[in-house]
Assembly symmetry: D2
Homo-oligomer: 317 residues x 4
């Protein structure tokens, strides 16, 4: 969870804002979208490729590949099901990391382990099959794959006084991994994405993305090696839920002929302006809050296992 | 945090709904309110006494005494300040528990220790100076006060499969405390109450209060001994923040002459109906969510110490 | 881990003390021993049945059945292997609990979650599939078995000020389970048992067993329903390791002709007297210590999953 | 706790091995020892200065200053007492860090937070008043001291796959602190040191010290800035307790005329050879174990607060 939560961390949701109510997709310059059904999981895989500056502008996300696994049953504690998802995730992870980049993988578990929805990253690292020190010591292992896995939980700025970038870049410069995997809890625009969506991307992590602070990003550009992010929406920001409910209210009021023309008025606002308006109307304290499901502890536990398992399968067992 | 969050757990907020915009207080039958300044803490103590059925009806809270300490600086990590608050809390605690009820105090830490804002109760019990077993074994202690303190963290229903009442009642029947202290994270109506308010009450805890399910309550009536609750608002429910922001929006729209009469329309709704309307308009998933500040981990840690310290001072050190 | 650690919590080890150096078993009145090989696990199942007072006297354990699974690879993080062990454990658990006692199972996770080797019980309860509240509410589940599972982590006396018995008995009297499962970390006599042995017994838990304090025991007699214990040795007490090493030293010294007759002198001591002698020679502070492997955190995590899985398989999924 | 535990991490204990039974101190070349009484704490401060190679050889510790606070009541949960110790510790810390090195302090919490006695370092960092990010952002604080504090919990090799040195050196090179404070749980030779002794040293941390692996050390030489260590004995290694008890046994046996000359034989061994002998006689598994008090969780909690408080006083509040 980045310090300043953004509208949506999901390329999939950014794209959906361009879809009409009928489900029709407006054509987007510089963006490729492919969707396929994931057998055995009752879920979908969507690949959004942002090809150029035009696509970057359209979705407000950097050029790169965004793979999204959507699986409604992800919150269910069904081991066989999670095993299917792990396998798919593992497969997709390897498509983003060509053979020559797999020799030594550093997994970075972002977030605050003391805040339930933000503990996803730290918990993934906890469950990993760490192997780098064993291989460096030339000790035998029972593992099938010969890649090195190392892991770090850097903590958040209030705990360390340091930028995550400073910590990770320092470690990368010293231990020379061939790729970095960054795990993070994300903010979603829609409640239906919470705990049901996993996004992989080769663009790394851009805290406060769009705000232009590239100094802090964890990307191939800043770290010097391919940097893949794995994110799962765990919170919604408060402005989003207010905005959604308000739209429903206005529609209801118009249908009841209690007001007129308000919906039209609201539609004239750009999506981003509408959000800005709501933020201004919200209590200042509310802007520093997050919204999360009451059973988030169980979801974080479950999904962190599924992701660790995928990484272990790709690079160890 | 109760399984179904209610509008407000605070008697103080229930009372405020009867205050006009000018700050004037409408007279309430059956309710006494006294406010005093707390020297050295820049805070207030408000005592709301609900005297009879009329007061109960007016505030939708059971007959009893509700002491509320309001202290804006409570989230600040200032040790001397927290020491002042602990002393005041300790003093107020003793006003609710006459000498003959202090012999053996069972402290119950409600909530889920795995969910950050809900871990307040468990953390208070962790920091307590537990003495009952030492006294039963007739071992010497260095403590000044001669009361027994015992503690239990019962967990939440999803972890135990049992009602909190079943667990606590079972333990009370077996260990015979002379009073029970129940610590719980509360839901507040207003963001400004979060982490700045501590409520003590001799009415115990009524999960889903107003809904009429008295079977589950932890009160003198159900447990057989005086039952004091200590609660601190740690979350707001999603409907509350939507409602507040919408009122601001409608006012802004009217002032801009973009709509007319909507505020009046909304005012015709009863407070509770308005809330019901919002709940209906909200995404179903959203109803099972909570809203909490991003730095809630630090607040829970700090305030749990302050409360433990107050209990230790009252009954042990 | 009981407050006062005893020589061995394992019936298997108690029995072994009667075996000669050649591996021959002295005949024990009132004790039946059967051993079988566990296919697919490279392990053994030993069933020790103590039939009467004579057997009780011989092994210093109460009359009852003790099933011990020995599996050297238990500390290894191999999922398929642990799945085999879970299945076997599940099967054995059901042999101790006839159909009519399975309707509602209360699982009690003994121990202190803040002390790594003692966190086994609490961690087992964390991973359980809790169902009692779902069934009481008549909600649908996806589970195949129709038994109720509830769980409690009572904490240790230093945290609660209460006897574990008081807490568990109170809850049993209130929630009426048809059987109780008690999970506990044990003390072993030999390092080779650590993390490689799981003991099931229908005799429950006798803290400070042999010392005659039946008031605190968790057994069918005290709780009123069948009470099964599941224990895994996680610590050795300090006197044991001193004794073992000393025997090796004396043998070595004699072989080097540096001393004579000391081994013979030591052999004249009864096993229990030898231990008493060592305890007297040990630093007083040392008697309150435990010995545990440096990687105990990984073992507790792994084995707690294996046990939860066995319970879930027996009564839920 | 270093991966391979050494005989003693305490300079004070190294020195004591040169003291005769009468308490007389043999003169040590290259070593200065000063002891003073700590008023109000019923404790002592001992300053051992190793001046040159001769002293280094004698105590098997690097050249430098070792300050040891001995306070028998340290395990007692008495707030006023701990406040005294914090003040003294804070004072001594500042004597090791001249003004020009205090501008930006990086605190490193070594150890495994999942293993109770090894969690001291991580817990100290948790309780710190972290300020670096606040000052870098030029935000106002309420603090009196103007130094930057940052903190990191690097984890242990089994969790990260990396040497602690690699992680810390990487972060130091990136964030440029003016001094590093390393907090670690230590191994002591004597049970009476457990939880009663705090050692400060300007020589940093030498994992497996004496073994000559300077690559992994955290010292001024390797990190490039003054590196102070703060350590508290939390465990004893198993060989130590076996050795101690055996000496008592042999004395007892000789006094009972059951053996003769064995004590003399044992005394002919060098301290280090005796230890080596015991290690060989011990069960191989036992060598990978640690011995720790049963109430270690409470001690770690208490003492970590005392140390954080000392650091906060020295550099923040």
């Amino acid at each position: 969870m980045r310090e300043f939560m953004i509208r949506t961390d999901l390329a999939l949701e950014a794209k959906e804002q361009y879809e009409g109510e009928s489900g029709q997709i407006k054509e987007l310059q510089g963006v490729l979208v492919e969707t396929s059904f994931l057998e055995g999981t009752n879920g979908n895989l969507t690949k959004v490729t942002i090809l150029n500056k035009e696509g970057e502008q359209a979705l407000q996300k950097p050029i790169g590949t965004y793979l999204t696994i959507e699986a409604e049953d992800l919150p269910r504690p069904d081991e066989d099901y999670h095993s299917q998802i792990s396998k798919e995730l593992s497969r997709q992870l390897l498509t983003l990391l060509p053979e020559q980049t797999r020799k030594s993988i550093l997994v970075v578990g972002l977030g605050n382990r003391e805040v339930t929805p933000d503990a996803l990253g730290p918990k993934v690292v906890e469950h990993l099959c760490i192997t780098r020190h064993i291989r460096l010591a030339n000790l035998p292992t029972f593992l099938k794959k010969e890649y090195d896995i190392s892991g770090i939980v850097p903590g958040v700025m209030a705990q360390t006084g340091m930028e995550t970038y400073e910590i990770v870049k320092g470690i990368v410069d010293k231990t020379h991994p061939t790729a970095v995997l960054v795990i993070d809890a994300l903010a979603a625009r829609s409640t239906k994405r919470l705990n049901t969506t996993i996004q992989l991307s080769d663009t790394g992590i851009h805290p406060g993305s769009g705000v232009g602070n590239h100094r802090k990003a964890l990307t191939q550009e800043t770290l010097g090696v391919p940097t893949i992010s794995i994110g799962v929406p765990m919170v919604i920001d408060a402005a989003t839920i207010v905005g959604d409910t308000m739209e429903h209210l206005i529609t209801a009021l118009e249908e009841a002929h209690m007001v007129q023309g308000l919906n039209q008025t609201m539609e004239e606002f750009e999506e981003e302006d509408k959000r800005q308006l709501i933020l201004e109307l919200m209590d200042e304290r509310l802007r520093k809050m997050y919204v999360t499901p009451k059973d988030i502890d169980a979801s974080v536990e479950q999904i962190s296992f599924t992701i660790s398992e995928a990484i272990n399968q790709a690079f160890a067992v």
